[in-house]
């Protein structure tokens, strides 16, 4: 079908979103998109989520940290933000999300708010809970591997 004339095309806003998870998490664009739709549908209902019309454009995720650009219809940014806040896990892996900023173009969104780099993830051995454990280091954050799952810590927690 012939595409719409420019003044009738929908207007979009682009949310630059930072993602954080435990270092062993594997999250793909597809599963993130699916969880986002579920989250939107559960919180906003069918009409609300259709209005927001959320779609995941750029997606990068590696070593427990990532970023993405989410497209949303102009005027629906706040509901979209709420839906993103309610996205708490992807494939059973807990995620932390934060909207870093909103722009009118994908390029502006990614140039201004993304590309901070995942930071080099280094492994080292630390003493946590009085036991020697492996920790994954990113900037000053440390994710410590325990038998019961990871623990979040920082340099300050080590003696």
């Amino acid at each position: 079908m012939k595409h719409l004339p420019k003044h009738l095309r929908p207007r979009w806003r682009y949310l630059a979103v930072g993602i954080e998870a435990w270092p062993d998490a594997e999250i793909s664009r597809g599963s993130f998109q699916r969880e986002l739709w579920y989250a939107a549908q559960n919180l906003l209902g069918d009409p609300g989520s259709a209005d927001a019309s959320l779609s995941v454009l750029r997606f990068e995720f590696e070593n427990g940290s990532g970023e993405t650009v989410v497209r949303v219809r102009r005027g629906e940014v706040e509901p979209a933000r709420a839906a993103l806040a309610c996205l708490d896990e992807v494939d059973g892996q807990p995620v932390g999300l934060r909207v870093r900023g909103v722009s009118g173009t994908v390029r502006a969104a990614s140039e201004r708010y993304l590309g901070r780099g995942a930071g080099v993830s280094d492994q080292r051995s630390v003493v946590f809970e009085n036991t020697e454990r492996t920790a994954f280091e990113r900037d000053s954050a440390l994710d410590v591997r325990r038998p019961s799952g990871f623990a979040g810590a920082t340099e300050l927690d080590l003696e």
Binding site: V99, G152, T154, D157
Partner: protein, 232 residues
Amino acid sequence: MYEAVYAHPDGDSTAARYALTAADYGFDGVVVRAVDAAPDYDRLAGAYGVDVVDAVEVVADDPASASGAVGNFRPKHELVLVRGGTDRVNRFAVEQERVDVLTRPMDGEGDFNHVLARAAADNDVAVEFDFGPVLRSEGGRRVRALQNLRKLRELVDHYDAPFVVSATPSSHLELRAPRELKAVGETIGFDAADVAAGLGTWGDIAACNRERRSDSFVAPGVELSRDRGEQR
């Protein structure tokens, strides 16, 4: 704006990690609602550019043991919270001036009514709106949580009781930035300004208690002057 968190070993992340993430998310401070946690507050102070508040959350089955714990912890911590969740503990908390915040009043069997709301307003005990189940549960549990939040909101509004808002995170991944919490609040019927006020109240209560705990404090409005201990 402050967030009240469960720090290691009550949660999966240490108080320092919360402070690091909260600073990035734009919070002014973190309230460590310790059940068993005992972070080194001196080391944390100012380390990541956010305030860290030394709080304790009393978890008790009945008013008698809660009362003992509150009396015990009051002089030692900046903030004393009582976890609700049963009608008797909810009632106990809002009737005690020594308690700062009643947390999670609608958990489990707990319920709230006009009598408790009025008592909370009279005794200046803040009631917590727990956004946790809204952010992290689904289906019937979430529907009930939303119904409870609405009921609580209507009561707190009507009696003008003080309130706080929190996402009750148990790891730094469960933290959400203030703007996100405001957006969620608006979708479920809160005023964005009220959510912001609720996040700010944590800090206000902490500031007030710190002033009371300082050596120069004598009585509200009366304090010793700093240089020679004379009364102003």
